[in-house]
């Protein structure tokens, strides 16, 4: 029978996780799907869902500091996330539906490392940093360096994502996220894009674009960023960004979509996001 560990503290959890047969679990919204479909059994599991060190959302040291164990409902409803990382609050509302959002966690979305994980492009665009911990100690990792291959991450054995830190916005910060899927809820994305930029007098700077479902990992669209950086927003810039986006990615055909559609949709979404960065009035 599977052994279940329910440690009271993060320190205790990390000690237990030295044993590589122990699987840390939180919302289980990906894990149990696979277990049930494949008959997979675990020797041992460790419950992260009650560890207070993984919860809480606060502003600290000039950053928005989010516990990796926070659920998407918590992100969606948090006044701090709504105010300081609105694209993260928005994308939280597109993940599954209420039942999933009540259980699925930000850390789980990251660690599960699906190419279609909806929060992942937002974290790329916002320039997130991860706080990681193991029995050996703690370290920070720029989120961009976390995904090293298809469903492979930079986590070392026994290491957990503990906190996710986001820089605070300025009064010029423009962020957005757009997800293309079959339905408004309960849809895995065909394409998902997130943008972060400073927009001052209609001019873009500090542009970062994260995209999901167009590669084996969530990716920065660096060529699109280069097209946009320092430029004034207008229709021709939006079109140029769309062309660059379509050329930059090599998506695949799969059950949800085709490479051709994904590239097309990516271009459309990028163009829309550029146009919508234009301040009104």
């Amino acid at each position: 029978m599977t052994r279940a560990f329910t440690p009271d503290s993060l320190a205790e959890a990390l000690k237990i996780l030295r044993d590589p047969t122990v699987v840390p679990v939180a919302g289980c919204t990906d894990l149990l799907v696979v277990d049930h479909a494949t008959g997979r059994r675990h020797d041992a599991v460790l419950d992260l869902s009650r560890l207070t060190a993984l919860r809480g959302i606060r502003v600290a040291d000039g950053h928005l500091d989010i516990g990796a164990g926070c659920t998407f409902t918590e992100l969606r409803q948090s006044p701090e996330v709504q105010r300081l990382a609105p694209s993260l609050a928005q994308v939280a509302g597109t993940i599954g539906a209420w039942q999933i959002q009540n259980r699925a966690t930000l850390g789980g979305n990251i660690a599960n490392a699906s190419p279609a994980g909806d929060s992942l492009p937002v974290l790329l665009a916002l320039g997130a940093t991860l706080e990681l911990a193991s029995a050996e100690g703690v370290r920070s990792l720029v989120y961009e360096q976390f995904h090293v291959g298809y469903r492979r991450t930079a986590l070392t054995p026994g290491e957990l994502i503990v906190r996710v830190r986001l820089p605070l916005p300025t009064r010029h910060t423009y962020t957005a996220v757009k997800k293309v899927g079959t339905r408004e809820a309960q849809a895995i994305s065909k394409v998902i894009v997130a943008i972060h930029a400073e927009v001052d007098g209609g001019r873009l700077s500090g542009v970062r674009l994260g995209a999901g479902s167009v590669a084996a990992v969530p990716v920065r669209l660096r060529q699109v960023e280069a097209v946009l950086e320092g430029r004034h927003i207008d229709a021709s810039l939006a079109d140029a960004a769309a062309r660059a986006a379509r050329a930059e990615v090599s998506p695949i055909d799969d059950v949800r979509s085709t490479a051709q559609y994904r590239a097309f949709a990516l271009g459309q979404v990028v163009a829309t996001m550029v146009r919508e960065g234009q301040p009104r009035g």
Binding site: T6, S49, W98, A185, Q186
Partner: protein
């Protein structure tokens, strides 16, 4: 480590001694014989297995039973007040929100959880709260009418 799992289900203390990773859905149906909760997809996509854990709607097919230790669980069976239907249940019947009934327990619980939090939801808020519950029969309009009828009944001081 592994202990007996103890929780409160529909107001009653219940125990489970099987594998901690057994799905709450299976424990409800097979061990506790509360078969009102249905399995539609086993993937958390359809909401037929929706139950309320500490008041929050979750898919029971995605909850390992050991994580409900010490928590309260409410299933569709827990909505009855003796012989009296919950206003949401009554409204579903009145407004044609029930056809084959497969989605109904989960749908009713999501609606109940919505009205417990938000006594005056907009149509968009109703749709968002029920977005995790798929129905293949009704086309949803009867369901939305039922939720509106239930909230009107509760506004008017209807019994709960």
């Amino acid at each position: 480590m592994n202990d007996v799992i103890r929780c409160t289900v529909n107001g009653r203390p219940l125990e489970y001694q099987g594998s901690p990773m057994d799905r709450l859905l299976d424990v409800l149906r097979e061990s506790w014989r509360l078969t009102g909760t249905k399995e539609g997809c086993g993937e958390g996509e359809c909401g037929a297995c929706t139950v309320l854990v500490d008041g929050d709607p979750v898919c029971a097919c995605l909850v390992p039973v050991f994580q409900v230790d010490g928590r309260t669980v409410r299933t569709i069976e827990g909505l009855l007040h003796g012989e009296r239907l919950d206003p949401v249940q009554a409204a579903f019947i009145d407004e044609g929100g029930v056809q084959c009934g497969a989605c109904t327990p989960g749908m009713v619980l999501s609606a109940r959880a919505l009205l417990d939090r938000n006594p005056d939801p907009s149509r968009e808020e109703i749709r968002d709260a029920l977005a995790g519950n798929l129905c293949r029969c009704t086309g949803y309009e009867g369901i939305y009418r039922a939720v509106v009828k239930a909230l009107q009944a509760e506004d008017a001081g209807g019994a709960r």
